[in-house]
């Protein structure tokens, strides 16, 4: 390998750039979500953090907490994945809002619910990726979304493994969406592969990172 991006070389400047990508991306995504739900949604400043694998599941409230993950695989100029994770309760709220019906009483998601959630993920990730593409001038092709409702630890193992190829830490961009009286907790995880990470940062003016 050797031609990849080295996380150990990260400094504050890189964090700032990544935070800015997160900010713009999540901003667009929030607008998209707000239009979809037809409600005003606020977003907090995204938190960019570099976490050890051992701390990973704790960001979502514990490895065994059930969450909804929507994943798109990326190709063209950036290879990798984009993952959008929402807490189960937030997902339930979004679905009932979208479908204009109360959440199911047994706490499960119907096929229709899942399909709606995939679409939400698709639109949100699309908005995020669009701004990344605008910012870097790179063409990004996203696959159709795939949905998984499972333990946070299990879903996070997917990005963790990708990051594991680069080092022992994972890069997270966490965005909280808030409505007036309700909070939707969502997390974006952009996971370019090693080569693509270097490419993105190069495009943004960092030439010494790879």
């Amino acid at each position: 390998m050797g031609n990849g991006f080295d996380f150990n070389k990260m400094n504050d400047e890189y964090y700032d750039v990544l935070r800015e990508i997160g900010n713009i991306g999540a901003g667009n995504a929030t607008t998209a979500l707000s239009q979809l739900l037809n409600e005003r949604i606020d977003m907090s400043v995204p938190k960019v953090s570099m976490l050890d694998f051992s701390e990973l599941p704790d960001v979502l409230g514990g490895a065994e907490v059930s969450v909804v993950g929507i994943m798109l695989s990326l190709s063209m100029d950036i290879d990798g994945m984009m993952l959008f994770i929402i807490e189960e309760e937030s997902a339930r709220y979004m679905v009932s809002n979208l479908m204009q019906c109360p959440p199911s009483e047994d706490g499960t998601f119907s096929d229709m619910d899942k399909s709606a959630l995939s679409e939400v993920g698709n639109i949100i990730c699309g908005a995020y990726l669009y701004s990344l593409s605008q910012l870097t001038g790179m063409t990004i092709n996203a696959s159709i979304p795939s949905l998984s409702i499972d333990m946070a630890g299990a879903i996070l193992s997917v990005p963790a493994i990708e990051f594991g190829k680069m080092g022992d830490k994972a890069l997270f961009i966490q965005s909280k969406f808030g409505e007036i009286d309700r909070e939707i907790n969502g997390y974006f995880i952009l996971i370019p592969n090693v080569e693509s990470y270097g490419k993105i940062l190069n495009r943004l003016g960092f030439t010494d990172i790879t």
Partner: protein, 161 residues
Amino acid sequence: MKNMIRVGMADLKVCESPGVLTTLGLGSCVGIVLYDSLSKIGGMVHVMLPDSTKFNHNENKAKYADTGIESLMENMLGVGAHKERIVAKIAGGAQMFAFSSDSDALRIGERNVEAVKKILDTKNIKIMAEDTGLNYGRTIEFYTETGELLIKSVGKPDKKI
């Protein structure tokens, strides 16, 4: 709950009876339990990738199937386990997201399981039981007193192997 020893991602631990080893929310990673039933010494490693030789950053031995199993063995032998008596149980290696394209990154669970089996085979360690693959996460608990591995998943009954 008895004293549960938590094994994190890319982590390994060894303990004696009646200790219980656990790893939470295994997805595409694989949890490998090695056990010497006579001395009742057990070990668990949570590996993320199949092969350490493919990467530059391979200092963390517990991250890879090859070096993870090797280190776990060494640690167990160091506290009195016998190599000839060690057997294995494995769990995890799920494919959390389904895609029509068979990209390598997404098939990682399957590749992890294959690598683990191959390494155990070359070390002559018998796999007593396994619960691998499919598309859901697993939390595992290994009881060194009985040698049983308990597997918990979302929306499924607990399973003992």
